[in-house]
C-alpha cells in the first residue's frame, strides 16, 4: 500500500520537480560560464554586465533550491487539508501510513534535489575557481561547497573524499527528515486549530513558529561543539574524530525529534481532524 501511496505522491509533484531538476544544473552551468568569461574578458563595461548576471544567476540558483521545500509543504497542505483531502483522508489505509508516504517522498525528493544542487553549485564554483586558482581539482570546488553548507571553515573538514560524502548524505537525510516533519506538523496544527479560510493563515503561522523553534534548537545544538571548542580539551582528546562525533550527535538528535514529530502529527490527524 505504501508503494501505491508513494506512486501518487510522486505523480502529484512531477510537473514541478522535473523542470526544477533541469533548471538548477542549467543555471549553475550558466553561472560557471559567466565566471569563466568574466576572468577572460578585460573590458570594464562587459565585466560589470557579467558580474551582474553572475549575481542574478546565484540568486536564481539559491531561490530554486528554496523552492522545492516550499512546494512540498504547499502540496502537503493541499493533499491533506485542501479539497484533495476529501479523497486522501478517506482512503482505507492507516493515516500513519498516509503520513509516512508524504514524509518519505518529500525526503527522497529533497535529498535527491540537494545532491543535484550541491554538484551544480560545486560545478559553478569549480569553473570559476580553476580559472582563479589554476591547479585546483574539481574536488576542491566540492570541498568549498561542503564547507559553505556546513558553515565550517575549510581546515575543519580535511579532504573531500568518499567518506565525507557518505557522512554528508546521511547528515542531510536526517536533517531533511527533521525539517519535513517539523513543517508538516506546523501545517497540521494550523489546519486542526483553525477552520475555513483561516486554516491557510494558521498553517503559515505555525510553520513560522516551527521554524523559530528549530532555529532555537539548532542554536543549542551548535552551541555544544562551540562550548567544547572553547575549553579545548575535547578536541585534543578526540583529535580528528571530534567533528565526526559532533555530526553523529546532531544526526541522532534530529532523528529523535523527527520520530517524535511524526507521531505527534499522526495523532493530530487521527484525533483532531477538522476538514471544515
Amino acid at each position: 500500500m505504501l508503494k501505491k501511496l508513494l506512486k501518487y505522491d510522486f505523480l502529484s509533484i512531477k510537473r514541478f520537480v522535473i523542470p526544477l531538476l533541469l533548471l538548477t544544473p542549467a543555471v549553475a552551468f550558466a553561472i560557471g560560464m559567466i565566471g569563466y568569461l568574466g576572468n577572460r574578458i578585460h573590458n570594464s563595461v562587459v565585466e560589470i554586465g557579467l558580474e551582474t548576471m553572475y549575481v542574478i544567476g546565484l540568486i536564481a540558483l539559491f531561490l530554486s533550491i528554496a523552492l522545492l521545500p516550499v512546494l512540498l509543504i504547499v502540496r502537503y497542505y493541499i493533499g491533506m487539508f485542501g479539497d484533495a483531502g476529501y479523497v486522501t483522508l478517506l482512503l482505507p489505509v492507516p493515516r500513519k501510513l498516509l503520513l509516512l508516504s508524504k514524509v518519505l517522498y518529500a525526503v527522497i525528493l529533497t535529498t535527491g534535489y540537494l545532491v543535484v544542487a550541491f554538484f551544480s553549485i560545486g560545478f559553478a564554483f569549480f569553473v570559476t575557481q580553476t580559472i582563479l586558482y589554476p591547479g585546483h581539482t574539481i574536488f576542491y570546488a566540492f570541498h568549498l561547497t561542503l564547507a559553505s553548507v556546513k558553515g565550517l571553515s575549510l581546515g575543519f573538514l580535511g579532504d573531500f573524499n568518499a567518506g565525507v560524502a557518505v557522512e554528508l548524505v546521511f547528515y542531510v537525510i536526517f536533517l531533511v527528515t527533521f525539517i519535513i516533519n517539523l513543517f508538516y506538523t506546523g501545517v497540521t496544527l494550523g489546519a486542526v486549530v483553525f477552520q475555513g479560510k483561516a486554516k491557510i493563515g494558521g498553517a503559515i503561522g505555525f510553520c513560522i513558529a516551527a521554524y523559530m523553534a528549530w532555529s532555537l534548537i539548532k542554536t543549542l545544538i551548535e552551541a555544544i561543539p562551540t562550548m567544547i571548542l572553547v575549553t579545548g580539551d575535547a578536541e585534543e582528546l578526540l583529535g580528528s574524530s571530534f567533528f565526526f562525533f559532533v555530526w553523529i550527535a546532531e544526526t541522532v538528535l534530529y532523528a529523535c525529534f523527527s520520530v517524535g514529530l511524526f507521531f505527534l502529527n499522526a495523532r493530530l490527524i487521527d484525533r483532531k481532524l477538522n476538514l471544515a
Binding site: D83, Y86, P92, P94, L275
Partner: protein, 234 residues
Amino acid sequence: MQERPLLEVSGLTKYYRSFPSLSDFSLTLTEGKIVALLGPNGSGKTTLIKIIAGLLTPNAGSVSVLGCPPGDQSRSMIAYLPDRNSIPGWMTSEQAVAYFADFFQDFDRVKAEKMLADLGIPLDKPFSKLSKGMREKVQLSLVMSRAAKLYLLDEPISGVDPAAREYILRTILSCHAPDATVLISTHLIADVEEVIDEFVFIRDGRLVCYDSADEARKREGKSLDEMFREAFRC
C-alpha cells in the same frame, strides 16, 4: 426479520468556535434504504455527513458503521461524495479510475469506465480542465462504482443539468447493492422525492423528523416537498 442497524449516530455535538453546528444529534439507519437528509442552509447536514465519514472530529457523541467507529475499517465501507471537487486537478479521469481501483477493493473499474463513457467524459483530460458539471459527474461515477455499505452523497445533483440529473438519480438507484444504504443531502427535494425510502429533517443541528417517505405522504396527504416548505417556512 429485524432490520440490521447500519449507521448509529448517538448524541453528536459539534461546535464551530462557539457556534453549535450539531446539538445532541442521534439517528439510526438500517440497511438497504435510500434516505434524504433535508434541511435549510446551515442546518448541519454537511457537518453530520463529514463526521460520519471521519473528516470531522465531534466535540461529543459517537458514530459507528456496522459497529465500527470512524477509522480504516469504517472508511472501507463508506463511499463519500463531497460537495466540492476533491479529485486533484492534475489527475485525468483515467488516472482517477486507476487511483480508486488501486485503493478500494470494492471498486468496479469496468462499471466506472462505462459510466464515464455514458456521460461523455473524456478520459485523457486533466480534472482541472473539465467543466464543473463534468467534474461532478466524474466524482459521482467513481463513488457509485464502489460496492460500499454506506453511500454519503452531499448535494450530488446540485451542479448538473436536468438531463444529467435524471441519469445520476437512475445511477444512484441502480448502482447500490440491496443491503447498502444511501444518505443523500439535497435541496432539490422534488427531484429525489420519487426515489427515497426515508427522510430526515434537520434544523439548527437538531433532528426535527425521521420518517418513512411513503407513510408520511399517506398520513399528511402532502408531498415531501410541501412538508419541507411547511416545516422550514421562513
